[in-house]
Symmetry: C2
Subunit: 383 residues, 2 copies
């Protein structure tokens, strides 16, 4: 069995005084300190990053991390758009399953705010198909098409989506690493400017800087001595077409459904066992689809279910979602997101989630998506 | 045990009529046909690519490959500069070691000739440190510094390096997938224009397009039925500083030494057991260092040893090197190189190397380097 034994994340936001690798170094130093590990006790490193090549002509990060960590071990970079962090984590789990008694460091990081919004948006559009890019479809545009289809098909309005952002901003107000700490109302969301109809600024995750890291290990003797630990019960990756037009249904993310089904099968638990989940809310509509495609809610009912806020902290629900603030309020430094999600579940399972600590947490799930659903990674942790 | 059971490569060169994913599709179709596998029999895909993000704003390739292959399985992209192919192969091996009875498809590809040499060189420099980029150091410049140091330290001249290119062009003349099919002489090399003193055009690998793919499997029943198979005895990755100035010695590639030592230890064979090797000759000096750092030749003796061409096909040596033509003559579509090297060893081990078939091949080695030595991957195959 593989265990997570430590997590550190930088603050997410506009961190202009730090470069990409300054953030990576902070995350590495932080997580090693927490776990009392030295650099020489790390056997391999897996790094998730999407945009450093496109934005700052910065590739070959495995070698840069070797320089920072002062080691000559295997180091890998995974890139799967906004699922780069989740993909890196999955590869790290494979490494542990293939090798006994090892400690791996898994890092995700992104540096986005040194560039103009146009540059960042062009970079992000690299995760869409060539045709979609040529048509001028940004990710706001792609998710807007999905949102329009969903709202029309199930007779919902923009207001139904707004509850997602209200919940996640409330959670962000409880997380001192979050980019946005301010609570918002449904009216705030509805009054905010359109980005791509029906999605508005307050339906959308921001452009962010940040780095997150976890230590994962399969050394049973070492695990016994650790104060904080969570078992990795499953980590599953699935893929789908990069082009929205090639999908059979655009009111579901097939890759999420497949990854979730495989993950629950491997973890040998039911949906109802999950107490906390971090789901990929790059836009409000994405959290609604995620709740349905992960199997927590029935298809088409998410727009209705969200109104009573059963997944909001403090409302007494059995499943609390995006306690970190989600991508919406915690921020979305792309490569870091998948690791931060897993880290937040680790904090909840080990009683370290401070003001947002959910009670009696036994199982948690993290859900990371790349592009408009071309990649999905589902990870289940337990204590 | 993991086995390679099939290999396909596109021609390498200036392939203006095909896009990156046209090349990927050709490689996938080719290797599936050779192994009589359908898309549904592939359990995971690992893709090595360096420059698509930088050159053509093309990321999230796992999802694009899902669309091409019409599957929803785990697909990953690895990037480690010029070692992206080798890194993808190593991750694929981890996947097999972690999961029983699986078939994986490993692809490497690069599309470079649609862009100006300046664009390609700027993209390639993304594999160097930020300081090196700011100083205007291209990879020709970095390897020129290494070459000057080596030639001075061991009292060699540019002529010693020239033999590497002469050998590899001769081998390229025997490989109909190679970018350059023309034999050259030592005089041709010495007369060619300087790129970065002491390295000249004919010391340097070209800018190329191409895609290569192998099938690797750990399904023993299926392996038994295969006509062609080679066992993967070891695949090891090591890293080092991205900056040349942070290295203790610049006349050796430490990552190569570490990866090779680990690989020979795991494969349980000696250096003298290797009959064929593909080594990373991005520049002539790189093959000399590789032969020394892999442990085939003593440090400092490579410049002398190469003169008699003991590693040239047809000269009766025990170890023939870069029968594909190497990066120099076969071409260097960056992400494809690490897979082509492994594929060439597979062809030699299974008697499919046609005009360049070495006799009585039992063991072969592939050696893939990223940047100026920040990543090295060493793979050993046997029959």
């Amino acid at each position: 069995m593989n265990y997570i034994t430590g997590y550190y994340t930088t603050k997410f936001g506009e961190i202009w005084e730090k470069s990409l690798f300054d953030l990576v170094k902070e995350a590495i130093t932080g997580v090693l300190k927490q776990t009392n590990l030295t650099n020489k006790q790390i056997d391999a490193v897996f790094f998730g990053n999407m945009l450093a090549g496109v934005l700052e002509n910065n590739l070959h990060s495995p070698s840069k991390i070797s320089e920072i960590l002062k080691v000559n071990i295997p180091i890998f970079r995974a890139e799967a758009a906004c699922a780069s962090g989740g993909a890196a984590f999955n590869l790290a789990k494979n490494y542990l399953d293939a090798n006994r008694n090892k400690n791996v460091l898994v890092i995700g990081a992104e540096k986005m705010t040194d560039y103009s919004p146009e540059e960042a948006i062009t970079g992000l559009s690299a995760a869409a198909s060539g045709e979609e890019q040529e048509a001028g479809l940004t990710f706001s545009g792609l998710y807007a098409m999905i949102a329009n289809y969903y709202l029309e098909k199930y007779s919902y309005s923009e207001k139904n989506l707004a509850y997602v952002s209200v919940k996640n901003h409330f959670h962000g107000s409880l997380n001192d690493k979050a980019q946005f700490r301010r609570k918002i109302t449904v009216e705030d969301v509805l009054k905010s400017a359109y980005v791509a109809y029906p999605l508005k600024v307050l339906d959308s995750s921001p452009i962010s800087d940040g780095a997150s890291a976890v230590i994962m290990t399969n050394n049973p003797d070492w695990v016994k001595k650790q104060k904080y630990k969570a078992a990795v019960l499953a980590s599953e990756v699935a893929t789908d077409t990069i082009s929205l037009k090639e999908r059979k249904n655009i009111d579901e993310i097939l890759a999420t459904k497949i990854a979730a089904n495989n993950a629950f099968k491997n973890a040998k638990i039911d949906r109802t066992d999950i107490n906390v989940a971090e789901v990929h809310d790059c836009f409000s509509i994405a959290e609604i689809l995620a709740m349905e495609d992960l199997g927590f809610w029935k298809k088409g009912e998410g727009g209705e279910n969200i109104i009573e806020q059963p997944t909001m902290f403090g409302n007494g629900g059995n499943l609390i979602v995006n306690t970190s603030g989600g991508l919406k309020a915690a921020g979305h430094p792309v490569g870091a997101t998948g690791i931060k999600q897993i880290g937040e579940i680790f904090l909840q399972l080990t009683g370290q989630a401070e003001k947002r600590q959910v009670k009696n947490v036994k199982y948690g799930l993290a859900h990371n998506v790349g592009g408009s659903g071309g990649t999905a990674v589902v990870t289940i942790l337990g204590i």
